[in-house]
């Protein structure tokens, strides 16, 4: 019986370490303490200013807290709201773009089947990423761009037939984001700055 007991102990130990490993996957359990003062940039201010109707002084509008139209009772930074608005539209443009929507099979299938969590989640992580790139606030907690854009490391990206995207796909993707921004009449000078920022991650996504 002694060996049985050791075996059982061993199994329990293995399970517990498994639990610890799974538990360590979590990213959401601690609320992020925002750095004071909250980082911002002229582009972030411009976006926040624009989403509020583009009146008056630009400075300070990026981090200004305003009511969140999509989350009753909550507030949101105006700059983030501008970015999220464009991101949400960009995903619609992508869904109608046959060159790019093939890379989103899982997401689009989930949404079509009425399971909207992944879609809501992507709108958030994508917004986090762009908000961080634009404002300098360290809020993105998702995967690295390299890991997220390869079927081998993330099975929600692409398929066995299309495991990675090429340069043409990348440029088209940026084009879809631009179309989304233009649909809200974001000035071209602002879109150009966004385009430059987004293009900087090309090396991590096209390889």
């Amino acid at each position: 019986m002694q060996t049985q007991k050791t075996k059982l102990l061993f199994i329990i130990a293995a399970m517990l370490s498994f639990a610890v490993i799974l538990g360590s996957c979590s990213k959401d359990d601690k609320p992020v303490t925002p750095p004071t003062p909250i980082a911002t940039s002229p582009l972030y201010d411009t976006l926040g200013w624009f989403i509020q109707g583009g009146q008056g002084a630009v400075e300070g509008n990026g981090t200004k807290m305003i009511a969140d139209p999509d989350n009753s009772g909550q507030t949101i930074q105006a700059g983030r709201l501008a970015i999220r608005t464009v991101v949400n539209k960009a995903l619609m443009v992508i869904a109608a773009d046959t060159a790019i929507n093939i890379y989103f099979p899982t997401l689009l299938a989930e949404v079509g089947a009425g399971n909207t969590t992944g879609y809501a989640h992507l709108r958030e992580t994508f917004t986090d990423f762009v908000q961080q790139a634009v404002s300098g606030q360290q809020i993105y907690k998702g995967m690295t761009m390299k890991a997220a854009h390869n079927f081998a490391t993330y099975n929600r990206f692409g398929s066995a037939a299309h495991p990675t995207s090429d340069e043409a796909d990348f440029n088209r993707f940026i084009g879809d984001v631009v179309i989304a921004a233009q649909s809200y009449n974001v000035p071209n000078s602002v879109i150009a700055q966004l385009g430059v920022l987004l293009s900087s991650v090309k090396g991590d996504i096209v390889y």
Partner: protein, 146 residues
């Protein structure tokens, strides 16, 4: 060891493993959902209609306006190249079918509502599907710990 004793050990191990797996699952879910903030527009859904012939701008404008007037519709987008009309709506308020039936089909333009196949529909993550067993369990745990 007698046969009976062996059986007892086997049954005990099986039960123990099942218990441990369940505990691991529960702990995992608790860790994942603890302090999770509600996602903005969590019930926003996207749907697509595919047109079978080019649609004149004027007509498409009318269709998009009709779609936008439907209950719960948030935004529309049309890609003239792929002839796909995409619309987002709150799935607590309306359904893709109803919106299609009352705002797109009557346009007289030949079109089809895009549907995901059964095999595509099962590709998603079970934990994220509110109708699946895991989705329900996840929501239940979220209500308890938050």
């Amino acid at each position: 060891m007698t046969m009976k004793k062996k059986l007892k050990v086997a049954a005990g191990s099986l039960l123990g493993i099942m218990f441990l797996f369940s505990a691991v699952l529960l702990i995992h879910i608790v860790v994942m959902v603890k302090n999770r903030k509600p996602l903005p527009a969590a019930t926003l859904q996207m749907a697509r209609a595919d047109f079978k012939q080019p649609v004149p701008d004027q007509v498409m404008q009318t269709i998009q306006q009709a779609v936008s007037r439907q209950k719960g519709v948030k935004e529309t987008y049309y890609n003239a190249g792929s002839r796909m009309l995409v619309y987002t709506y709150d799935n607590k308020v309306n359904t893709a079918e109803a919106i299609y039936a009352s705002a797109i089909r009557p346009s007289g333009m030949s079109s089809e509502r895009h549907l995901v196949s059964q095999s595509e529909a099962t590709k998603g993550c079970p934990a994220m599907d509110n109708h699946s067993f895991y989705g329900k369990l996840t929501n239940m745990v979220a209500r308890v710990v938050n």
